[in-house]
């Protein structure tokens, strides 16, 4: 199939997309927790895959290689978005949020109904710092072994472990604050 894609076979390219589109979209969605951003990222991932497929040497499996491109694309897109958001727009958003914030009574009621649900977890995962977000997604949601994550992210296993632990810690504190209304 790879040889066919390299020769410019459109059917082979479509076959590759069909085989991995859901995996790529799922990773991107878990990273951004937003349909539009996940779709943009998935498209970007496949564009990169077809640009680089001529250089794929098969040192890792195709799936690992695609995971790697997806992870790197998500991280770089998130960093780009963050840079774009910082500045005037961010200031205006904070100003607007201060006007539209819920009243203390609403917050108390809201806190009582808060619980550790999938939606809250997914949103908080998507708010983790980029460094810790992808290791946590790959380990705790995708269920990849540490060695595979190390291969995908191209970092040592020890670093993967420490990033997962740190990411989980941040996630837990963030979720506890959300559920118990400690900080937020």
């Amino acid at each position: 199939m790879l040889a066919d894609i390299r020769r410019g076979d459109q059917k082979a390219a479509a076959k590759l997309v069909s085989a991995y589109e859901k995996t790529v979209y799922r990773i991107c969605y878990r990273f951004f927790a937003d349909e539009n951003e996940a779709m943009d990222a998935a498209q970007e991932v496949f564009i990169k895959i077809f640009r680089a497929i001529g250089r794929f040497e098969g040192r890792s499996s195709l799936k690992t290689w695609i995971y790697r491109i997806a992870a790197n694309t998500c991280i770089s897109l998130a960093e780009k978005r963050k840079r774009e958001k910082e500045g005037l727009l961010q200031t205006m958003m904070h100003w607007w949020e201060s006007f539209t914030a819920a009243s203390p009574e609403d917050e108390v009621l809201d806190n009582e109904t808060r619980q550790l649900n999938q939606q809250a977890v997914a949103e908080k995962v998507a708010r983790l710092p980029e460094t810790y977000r992808m290791p946590v997604i790959l380990k705790d949601i995708e269920g990849l072994p540490l060695e595979k994550i190390s291969e995908v992210l191209e970092i040592p296993v020890g670093t993967v472990k420490s990033r997962i632990n740190r990411g989980r810690r941040i996630l837990q504190e963030s979720l506890q604050a959300y559920v118990y209304g400690r900080l937020e």
Partner: protein
């Protein structure tokens, strides 16, 4: 009141791999309400993460991806760069040719002036001609007399010694004076040994 974070800190430091220390942490957590609560929450959080359902895949996922890939292929790798990038390219292309051409021209010019000094400016040529005319030719000088320096009479030597003696008398050197005409090194501790 400050919450106990011993369990979370232990997780953060990856103490779960050290069985002895991990047992201590679990013993502490069994008595500490904060850590017990953290353990419960942590377990529940990991369960929720593991049970995260796959997202609802958009209907046009495959078509959108194929369209993006095809559009990137048609633009031969320049898609998404926008009109500004296209304009910059248009302006940079002639510049890319002009810069090496200018460098080549400069190189040729420098090589030419280094190897052909006669073609320099009129002022340089005039200066060179004047310098050439003022050059003393060694071959035109009269031959030197090798015995000329040895002919010093006894009277001349006597007169020189008498003048030297008179000079020494009129300029007596003080016993501790330093000859300032010659360079010398003086250390800080040297002054300690000098008599006041």
């Amino acid at each position: 009141m400050k919450k106990c974070n011993r369990y979370l800190d232990a997780l953060d430091q990856n103490l779960a791999e050290d069985s002895a220390r991990w047992q201590d942490v679990l013993m502490h957590a069994s008595r500490c309400p904060d850590c017990s609560s953290d353990i419960k929450f942590h377990t529940e959080m990991l369960e929720k993460l593991a049970e995260t359902p796959p997202p609802a895949y958009p209907a046009g996922l495959h078509e959108n991806i194929m369209q993006a890939v095809a559009s990137d292929g048609n633009d031969s790798g320049s898609s998404g760069e926008g009109a500004l990038a296209w304009l910059l390219d248009r302006f940079l292309q002639p510049l890319e040719l002009a810069v090496p051409a200018a460098c080549l021209l400069m190189f040729v010019f420098l090589v030419q002036i280094n190897h052909e000094p006669e073609n320099g400016s009129a002022a340089v040529q005039a200066y060179a001609a004047r310098a050439k005319s003022q050059t003393v030719r060694v071959a035109e000088l009269p031959p030197a007399d090798p015995d000329a320096l040895e002919h010093v009479s006894g009277a001349e030597v006597k007169e020189f010694l008498a003048r030297l003696e008179e000079f020494n008398r009129s300029h007596p050197q003080e016993p501790g004076s330093v000859n300032t005409a010659l360079p010398s090194i003086e250390l800080v501790n040297d002054n300690l040994w000098r008599e006041p």
